[in-house]
Amino acid sequence: MSSDPELTLEITGAALVADGVRSLRLARGDRAALPGWEPGAHLEFDLPNGQIRHYSLCNETTDANSYEVAVLLAPESRGGSEYIHNDLQVGDLVTVRGPRNNFPFAIGSRERALFIAGGIGITPILPMIRRAHAEGIEWSLVYGGRSRESMAYLEQLQHFGSRVQIVPQDELGHIDLQTLLGVPQPDTKVFCCGPSGLLDAVQQLCRTWPDGTLHLERFAAGSLDASVQADAGTFTVVAERSGVTCEVGVGESITDALGRAGIIVPTSCREGICGTCETKVIAGIPDHRDFLLGDADRESGATMLICVSRAKTPELILDV
């Protein structure tokens, strides 16, 4: 995603804001204004070991000269969050791209916002809450985590009183999603970020809600990062018209795999933005990784952008 501006920023502050959660402030060397952003935006970090991580911005959008992210030290981390926790010091320089936003706070002035955050997933939600509050939008937050000590920003959130419901697992168990989402509420948008178990459950329950209700961020806050996702799993692609079957390997795109088998599908951007490689799906469920398709197309699974998207089923049959 070379299209975003690359910034070299200095770490101007760092603090432990909860057990295993370190917040970092970043600014330009000359402290000049940074590109603006909207709630839900994240930065892409290049780490010295070659890894790429995405972390949501969680400071005030009006704070023009610095960015803040909060990073969870993930036990299964392949070194990314460990580096951020242990090696990065105030004064160090990091390379980032963005801000980008795949999780915009899209809501009408008469709608209500229901925020659901799990653990470090609170980070993109915080700026949304500030925005909702500033604009007089009705909102409430349910925030779950392992224990109070592990949950960042509790103090700030407690100022909002009964709009905020804190659910530490060791005291209260899991968030009661059934009560929260079992009955569709009119004029309500749901914004959710957290571990994939939570996201899957929320997605499941929101099936009966009106189209466009649910907004979620899957790889926010580095808990799951895009590079891990993008490489996961091999699957089979059947090119129906050409009568060819091929394996798509880990880290390989469908277009590349088809190319190896002698089937050339024209591509331009190769990053899931331009739509050149859009291909009809005859059978199988795509795992959409693009930035172009709308929600209805995505759900219907009738087409996919095969330069980036993958498969949720072991096999995909494509109209190529």
């Binding site: 933005i273 709308g294 929600d295």
Partner: protein, 400 residues
């Protein structure tokens, strides 16, 4: 209203007579105003593009990522809805080499606007996101190539576009029609039914026909059964609209074949407002009819001098439309009959205008709405500018 455009290719004397001070001295527009391609070309540029044209309903682009291409006069316009729910309108031309982003009439739902030609991609807010594989010619800067925005507004759930960019502010354009329509609050109403018709007539005859009920006794038996045409009244306007009303007979509740409603009275209106049908022409292309229990629009698009596309739509409060078993046909059937009677008359008038014997005719007092509209046109033909229409005073003057 602020810029002056070249006058239309009609003679001053044939326009002056439309503007005669006394209604009895005034005559209708000359046949050329309806028949000539040159006039329609002029109107597209100077009447439609210079106005606020209704291009459809907000729900046509309801969800984030919804996109629709429409035509306004000679201009192609792309509508988009962004992630924060804001509407955008752009000239439908890619900043690379001008390919249309979407063919006119087509819809899409995508997170980005994608040009089919060389795959440039723009955000829903128009910014160039990726000039796909564009081989940088030294100083190519994406910020310099956004889609070019066109003025757009949403008003009670309808979308209006000013393609020329220099029409008065929309609030000034509609004037006090906003207050008049407010009790009905059509913003959240939903479409119960919609019909479209392609008429073999000039677009202006459809508006003129809508603005008078002198013809009602002769061609609308069903309408006369629910509302006696002599009850017409004029409304005081401060915007680019003309309007009047017909009062229902005591035994009729609404415009339907039996005078009964298949819906509910609209919550915000008074007992007095529930006794009338209010008819509005919002220049240049929207006819808006407010009724006790539903709202109707006719949206006009001229296709050629002798061809007009009309979309007639019936809107109901959401809770009514979503009620199990709700049937909008009580409204749609009545108006479908009435529309066809009107449209046959308009097509026949056009046939008459095509004969060599057509001459500008006189106005009856009940046609001062037609005359006000024609005076608005005549002034525009002469000066190249939209002016507010003359006040009309059908029957007792009565302000809603």
């Amino acid at each position: 209203m602020n810029t002056s455009l070249p006058p239309a290719p009609l003679t001053k004397s044939e326009l002056d007579i439309v503007l005669e001070e006394r209604l009895s001295d005034a005559r209708t527009l000359p046949a050329d105003a309806y028949l000539s391609q040159e006039i329609l070309d002029w109107e597209r540029k100077n009447l439609l593009e210079a106005a606020w044209v209704c291009v459809g309903r907000s729900s046509d682009v309801a969800k984030a990522g919804d996109q629709k291409a429409v035509r306004v006069g000679t201009q192609g316009v792309l509508l988009t809805r962004d992630e924060s729910g804001d509407l955008h309108a752009f000239y439908n031309a890619c900043r690379h080499r001008g390919h249309e982003l979407l063919a006119v009439g087509q819809c899409a739902n995508k997170k980005l606007v994608q040009c089919p030609y060389h795959a440039w991609v723009f955000g829903l807010n128009g910014e160039l996101r990726s000039a796909t594989q564009f081989m940088d010619t030294e100083n190519f800067n994406k910020e310099e190539w956004p889609l070019i925005e066109v003025r757009s507004v949403e008003w009670f759930g309808w979308i209006f576009i000013n393609a020329s960019g220099d029409a008065p502010e929309f609030s000034e354009w509609v004037g006090n029609l906003t207050e008049v329509v407010a009790p009905w609050d059509p913003t959240d109403m939903v479409i119960g039914e919609s019909h479209s018709y392609t008429l073999k007539t000039n677009w202006k005859t459809v508006i003129e026909n809508y603005l008078e009920c002198y013809h009602c006794p002769s061609i609308h038996p069903e309408l006369c059964r629910v509302a006696p045409p002599e009850s017409a009244m004029g409304l005081h306007q401060t915007g680019m609209w003309l309007g009047g009303g017909l009062e229902f007979r005591d035994d009729a509740d609404t415009n339907s074949l039996d005078g009964r409603s298949g819906g509910d009275r609209i919550a915000g209106i008074s007992d007095e407002q529930a006794r009338w049908t209010l008819y509005f022409m919002l220049a240049p292309n929207l006819l808006l009819t407010l009724q006790p229990d539903y709202v109707m629009t006719h949206r006009l698009v001229p296709l050629s001098p002798g061809e007009t596309w009309v979309e007639c739509t019936w809107y109901f409060p959401r809770e009514v439309a979503e009620r199990p078993g709700f049937d909008p046909s009580f409204a749609a059937d009545f108006w479908d009959i009435t529309n066809k009677q009107d449209f046959a008359a308009c097509e026949s008038v056009y046939q008459g205008m095509l004969t060599d014997g057509y001459r500008p005719g006189p106005f009856d007092e009940r046609e001062d709405g037609v005359r006000a509209f024609q005076a608005q046109l005549a002034t525009a033909y002469l000066t190249g500018r939209w002016e507010k229409p003359l006040q009309i005073s059908l029957g007792a003057s009565h302000v809603v």
